[in-house]
Symmetry: C6
Subunit: 270 residues, 6 copies
């Protein structure tokens, strides 16, 4: 089924297997029900594109704070679709490209996709693709305009396309006139409760024993990190990517793991 | 007659039949009297160009909210004219074009049109053609100036031209000095009452039976979506394009169609 | 004489007869004394250039609201001069030109004019020539500077030149430093009284009979369009070009001509 | 002597006789003592450059309202110097030049001047040379920087150079950092009293008899144009260039000369 | 061990030994515990990259006031890592590079680093790399975007990379969206107490005897430079680089060393 | 010794003797103690670079009002150093250079300097080198960034470099981030007392006799120019360069020298 397909690898014509693997190197940890809901919604859009004739184009946006897992989730949904054409458009592959080289590269992926009956294109990190910088609100209008058209241009007769875009700057997209182009938006939340945190810690085996893990969690609870019931008002707000980074730093000092972990998490909470 | 001509296809020299078909893929649903009035007005301008010697150039603007059906209506009027030359200028065909390539492409269509005694040119999505972005009010002045001149340049002696432009950003056109160039403007409204909605639902056969459709409409009525008599103050404000998209999403969960439809429409209404 | 010369055509070396004809396609309707005064003033400048040795260069500006007839009047004055060199510089002939191509084209016309003992150059629609757009106050400084110099550069010894420029944006010209370069300015007013309107209606034979025309005018009078004696405070303010366009639209529905005419004119008056 | 040299022509190596003549086509009318003082001061600078070893470079600025006679005066001083190298740098000769072509042309004149033991360079109409436009305060910084350096760069050993620059925009020069580079500044005033006006009228023989001229002047006096003793508060403020233009227009209607002259001058005074 | 490795030189494939030496010409003076803590932290990150599989990319920022020793410390940590690939990206080697040449050069170092199993790249003086100037907030967006991507792009499978960046403009980095990309930040403080100052003076042997050094320090103490216990409120705030420069100036007047040193330090303190 | 070396000429490899002479054409007049102090300080920096191993790079800034003598003093200090490599980077030699040509030329001088064991580079008139204009705060960021790097880039091992920069716009340098790069700054003051003025007058022998000179000075004293003891509040504020220019103008009218001198100086003082 869809969920188990997430973990398989299907070498196939038109699918950049390696690139997709690269961005999910650390796997998907099912630390929260929200993770499964996001994957489930993604599956529904995959099915809609596969079956409805009236909507040969569906575009969705995954947005959320930095490091919350947008890229990994988008790539996972794409990979699980098992469509014959799956491509990732990522700024990582366009370092040093001129504006027009970027436009050409992006356009090429879409043109290629029109040759497959069923395609999914992941457009990762929109703000970086358009060279966005908050200072002076600079960006590449050429790339932006290309995305604006490609996100709503219908594929030719008989072709169907799912677009999955990601961004950490949801409000900027509105100012850029980009947010109206999506058929649907999904928020990827940060980790904001101790239970989710615990599942991650267990999964990555930071602590040698359950006792030590629980001791560390109690330390965090005492520090007030887990008190809030409400996600938004929680003092704990950390993307899974940053969390994994902090965990590895803490792992450097075996004698001090819990303290360093708590210190780093609380440093963020201030 | 004109109305029935809308549904016919006339392969002809100078007519991009396929392109026009592409933008009317889902057909024109006659969900409201306004739809027929718009088509009728379009027909009148078609006749004026055909017959008056004093106005060899007539330009009209179709404007309205995103997805209200501007492109499909403009293309339909053009197609129904049965003029020997019918062309669509669309940003979809100019992805990645440089400013000057755009200017050249646009100018070419107009120059070609001057070779036919009777021509209609649909200039679709002006804001995208000029690379408009609200952030920093950026746009291509070269393309804008080209449109400003072409929209009011008389065709050579003995040639007649109807220009149909579309835009979702009517107020911006004024700021750009573009709105004075049109001989006439027509607003394409969003769907804002339950009766129009019902006609669309019937046409696309979302529900297996009339009973289920009526149940869904009652649900929407109870939610207050249909209470208002006045179009502008109605809580329901949705372009037919977006509506068709929502309908297809709802269709994915056969057991839950009415609920998902209502949910999506009410989500918009907030 | 000058007035009757307006209607004649003189094929001559250095005169772009066809271009001039093109912009006066609908002729000059003498709907008001102002029209004749403008033509008379133009004639005086034509004579001054012909006869005075101290002013081998005279430049005048025709300005007024959009569609008030500036281009047609300027071209008419030029044509009636019967000078051996008469040229029209118009944005219509420079669509898609780069800045430097524009500068070259404009400069060429002036250089050519210096070869004729007597020349008149009509520089039509200055704002469009300089790619002016109100948003962001953008324009081509290269073209502007070219005009600034050419408008005040004396022709070589023994050559004489009359420059007739047109613009709808008189106040902008001041901000651009352009208005000081003209020796004289003349305003082309819109039609603002019913008597002038009536003369146009009669000339273009919109109504089959005088009775019907008078009925229509009474309708407009009743609507308050003709009440004001003062030109500026009149509710009727319409350029002759727009009026001719409205008339042709009204002509499309023979049974309803007066109503459509009144409707359109009153729509503007609001 | 210097004054009479003004009217002579000396064909000489390095002197653009024709260009200089072109800008003084209408001669210098000695309508006021100020005119002679300006010429006298110019002569003094000519002598200083010729004789002082400590100041091989002297640069002066002639500024005043449009049409006050700056170019004609500057060219006259240059011509009367009888230096072996006399050149005019004028925007008239640089229409359509690119920024760098302008820089090259300007620099060339200065380089050439360094080959002559004594040189005078007239840099006419600085604002036009730098493509200045008040809207958006645009200008060519490349040309400006070139002028800034050339205006204060000492000629090589044994060479001497007098620079005479003209401008109508004295305050802008300060904002551009240009005004500090001049060793001296001289204001060219407009005509602001009836006595000066009378001398011009007499010189150009607008009126067939002295009686008629005096009648016209009385008309102007009655209109309040000559009442003020103080130059700046006078209602009469007109550059000699504009005055000559008005005179020629008035000359077109022999029967009405005085009225048209008065009308034009009073139109300005409002 | 790590600390002693700091002073050794290891000629190795992929290591720019000479460049690193160049920026540590004056060595590292251990004038304060903070210096050793910074080196220790650096060592920990070196070890994390060497050992953790989940974090093949770690990026840290060294920031602090001008001349506080950021470059020397960053280069020291890199050199002490003994990784097979150690490179310095410095504006010193990119003088006169175009934007795109800079982007290419920077990208090349990262691409090269991906060929080594273990790499450290020092990205020195970010503000200079991006051509930052506070006036008008200008900078090279192309270089900035390149850094933004390279700082968070994971090396290919099996490769590991430590990035050490330096900057004097920490707040600007936030405005540029750069500061979120670092896994960790470390502040390099200026010298702000007399004890640290003394150690430097001793190390560089400014005074021929300890007595004279102590006399000079007393002079500074009397002037109030050493009174504060708190680092931030201290009147003494000087980067080690500037301090070394002042010391050498003072050394020029052997008879007056203490006075000149005190004068210079107090001049800064005002 | 150093002071007498100022007046000698040493043809040497790497020294642009002629260029240096050119900017000191009028010599250095020792009109004030400040002049000698500036030369003495310069000498100290020359010695520091020659002798200290820890500071192979020393950069100083000479700043002061226009015409105060910065260039002449900087060139004098450089020439007196008798280093084997002495070069002047001046905007005078870069007229019409493109941004990149400027960057290349500047960089070349520094690269050349690295080949000599001891070098001094005078970077004259920074604001002009970077094409600074106050209007719109425009400047060449490419040149600015080049200077920023070159002013603090250490020469290669065994090479030593003294940089002497000059500027009239000290506050702007701060806004540009340039002022932090200098090891030391020295102000070149204008002439602000009558005693200094007298020494200049005597040196250039403006007056045929001491009596006449004293009479002129008394005239200035009576006018209040010499009353103030304090340099900054003095009504006399004139750069030596401008003073020399005024003196030469006054010299033109032998009968009126004192009056013209007083007039010019008082005109400035207002
Ligand atoms: N449930 C999860 N969802 C997403 N990523 C997860 C999850 N569990 C573990 N991960 C891992 O966490 C990391 C998430 O990083 P990812 O690059 O996807 O975040 P991001 O939101 O795209 O970051 P950025 O804002 O920097 O683009 C990946 O390494 C991924 O393998
Ligand atoms: N009455 C109608 N008018 C217009 N379009 C209709 C109508 N009925 C159905 N449609 C369908 O609805 C869709 C309208 O989309 P269209 O692209 O024309 O909207 P639009 O206003 O141009 O959108 P956008 O603002 O994105 O340019 C088309 O697929 C069209 O076939
Ligand atoms: N008295 C008149 N004066 C000018 N044009 C007239 C007159 N009578 C009829 N016309 C016709 O009216 C039209 C005027 O259009 P014209 O292009 O000259 O106006 P315009 O002011 O230049 O418009 P725009 O502001 O768009 O440049 C022409 O077709 C001309 O033949
Ligand atoms: N006393 C005078 N001084 C200057 N020009 C005079 C004088 N008497 C007559 N003239 C004539 O008046 C005209 C002055 O025009 P000129 O181009 O020199 O003015 P300007 O101030 O340079 O104008 P602009 O501001 O347009 O550059 C010339 O034709 C010149 O021959
Ligand atoms: N403890 C120390 N830490 C850093 N540098 C030291 C130390 N002790 C001595 N030094 C010397 O001080 C100088 C520090 O200069 P460095 O260029 O590293 O400073 P910086 O902060 O990078 O300066 P900038 O802000 O100009 O880039 C070097 O010459 C270095 O050898
Ligand atoms: N004591 C002095 N110091 C400097 N210059 C002097 C002195 N005495 C005489 N001079 C002469 O004064 C002139 C000073 O001009 P210089 O170009 O050096 O000034 P500046 O400050 O560089 O001017 P600017 O601000 O225009 O660059 C030179 O000609 C120089 O020979
Ligand atoms: Mg991501
Ligand atoms: Mg559309
Ligand atoms: Mg016109
Ligand atoms: Mg002039
Ligand atoms: Mg550094
Ligand atoms: Mg100088």
């Amino acid at each position: 089924d869809f969920m188990s397909a997430l973990d398989e690898v299907h070498p196939a014509f038109g699918v950049s297997e390696e690139e997709l693997q690269q961005v999910i190197q650390n796997g998907i940890i099912h630390y929260d029900a929200a993770v499964d809901e996001l994957l489930k919604s993604g599956q529904l859009f995959v099915e809609q594109v596969r079956s409805s004739t009236r909507t040969p184009l569906v575009s969705i946006l995954l947005h959320g704070p930095p490091g919350s897992g947008k890229t990994a989730l988008g790539a996972s949904i794409a990979q699980a679709s098992q469509y014959p054409f799956i491509k990732l458009i990522s700024p990582d592959n366009m370092v040093g490209f001129s504006e027009s080289a970027k436009v050409t590269a992006i356009t090429k992926v879409f043109s290629d996709s029109y040759k497959s009956p069923l395609s999914v294109v992941v457009v990762d990190n929109i703000e970086r693709l358009i060279d966005w910088t908050p200072m002076g609100a600079r960006f590449s209008n050429a790339v932006l305009q290309t995305l604006l058209v490609l996100f709503s241009r219908r594929p030719p007769k008989g072709r169907r396309l799912l677009i999955i875009a990601t961004s950490s700057l949801r409000p900027i997209l509105t100012d850029l006139g980009l947010s109206e182009t999506f058929d649907s938006e999904m928020r990827v939340p940060p980790i904001s409760n101790l239970k989710a945190l615990e599942r991650v810690l267990r999964e990555v085996e930071l602590f040698p024993s359950g006792d030590e893990r629980r001791r560390a969690l109690r330390m965090l609870e005492d520090a007030g990190l887990g008190s809030s019931k409400d996600q938004l008002s929680s003092k704990l707000q950390i993307g899974v990517k940053k969390l994994l980074s902090i965990i590895e730093m803490a792992r450097q000092e075996p004698e001090n793991v819990a303290e360093r972990l708590a210190g780093a998490l609380m440093g963020l909470g201030m």
